[in-house]
Amino acid sequence: MTSLFSKFEGLAGALGSVVAAGGRNPFAVVIEKPISSTVGVIEGRETLLFGTNNYLGLSQSERAIKAAQEAAATCGVGTTGSRIANGTQSLHRKLERQIADFFERRDAMVFSTGYQANLGMISALAGKDDYLILDADSHASIYDGSRLSAAQVIRFRHNSPDDLYKRLKRLDAPNSAKLIVVEGIYSMTGNVAPMAEFAAVKRETGAYLMVDEAHSFGVLGEHGRGAAEAEGVEADVDFIVGTFSKSLGTVGGYCVSDHPELELVRLNCRPYMFTASLPPEVIAATGAALEDMIAQPELRRQLMDNAAHLHAGFTKLGLNASKRVSPVIAVTLETVEQAIPMWNRLLELGVYVNLSLPPATPDSRPLLRCSVMATHTAEQIDQALAVFGQAAQECGVPLQPCAA
């Protein structure tokens, strides 16, 4: 009889060679104890964290920790129900109001994870007569949302407004609604979307526009509202989705919109309706972290300064870093045979980053993906750069230094 697991044989072989090439499973790293937002204990060693998406360091926010403790003490540790049944407490509605006000929108929906926010919004909005037009490098949650929807799904070339326009024009479906989905900052590469140009295409073609600001919320724009704010085109964005698990340091997802029909989406959105809501302590901590973020705009400036520091350092070392400076900086290596030993050596020398291997990377080359935090000190960034230089040398990764 056929084994249920025979389909995993290829994966088992691939994982086996990754482990054999580096000595450990890069997808099973355990942070034994977080010491601060920037340092954790891994394999018994204090390790600099450069791969946690904790952009503002708010996972360790004192205000959020206190709010979580108080909420757990007064409301309990779980809701035991869905948002549309018994799982909405006044804290949930309060957080939705806070998020909507922050984005200056009519209403917000809070989901249990960022993944579910994309899954839920895309599948609820795009019906069988509609078209979803996705950036080719979209996050898995966007692809999965499109699979859960009944819509026709078309990809356009990554970050190309011209290609988006061409594919929308090619559709020739005047009676179908079209929803364009893009991300503010792309999680693997740190690429930033050309939002003003996408907004122009949206206006000209009459499509709707959804922007996933998961990695740009709290990072881009004067107030931290993301890539659409940074380019002054928020009015063209119909739906902003995002997550609390990056800049706010907790967990959960949201969608904000001015469309009054958002209230009806709540009743037509399986990933919202058929899962338990977030527990009170997470909701309270998220609201407090948002207050922290609003009260400290200097965190955003420090984050961008730190990103520029790390990026300049990589360029000086001669590593192939992302073109644009953003808090996600991917170092591209040419081969998996270079990337695996280098990632392992970085960890042994006390720096944790994310190892991304093809086909999970956009152009079939491996990435050492780094995420910067506002709370990294200049010394920590210099130390990480020194470790990158040493690991590259020891692992025979070719360097092409530029003048600083």
């Binding site: 080719a136 990809r155 090619r170 086909p359």
Partner: protein, 83 residues
């Protein structure tokens, strides 16, 4: 419409052979993922190139039913005829 399954299949094979990693002896019955060792992302990216050559868009849900080069060609001809 001037395209036929044969002409589209020939164009797809010509495009595939431009990639040196693709085996030289492919024909319309080759399975794209199994015989050409394309992963799901490579398939989607390759289909995008074919779309631009033929000015057609293949919705992703249609890709799920496509196994061979001829399946892809038949799907494209069908989409072109509907347009």
């Amino acid at each position: 419409m001037s395209e036929t399954v044969e002409s589209v299949s020939a164009l797809i094979i010509q495009k595939l052979l431009a990639n040196p990693k693709v085996p030289r002896d492919i024909d319309g019955n080759c399975k794209i993922m199994e015989d050409l060792a394309f992963d799901s992302l490579a398939v989607m990216n390759f289909v995008m190139e074919v779309e631009d050559s033929l000015d057609v868009s293949v919705p992703l849900d249609k890709l799920a039913d496509i196994r061979t080069i001829n399946d892809l060609a038949a799907c494209i001809v069908d989409l072109k005829n509907k347009g």
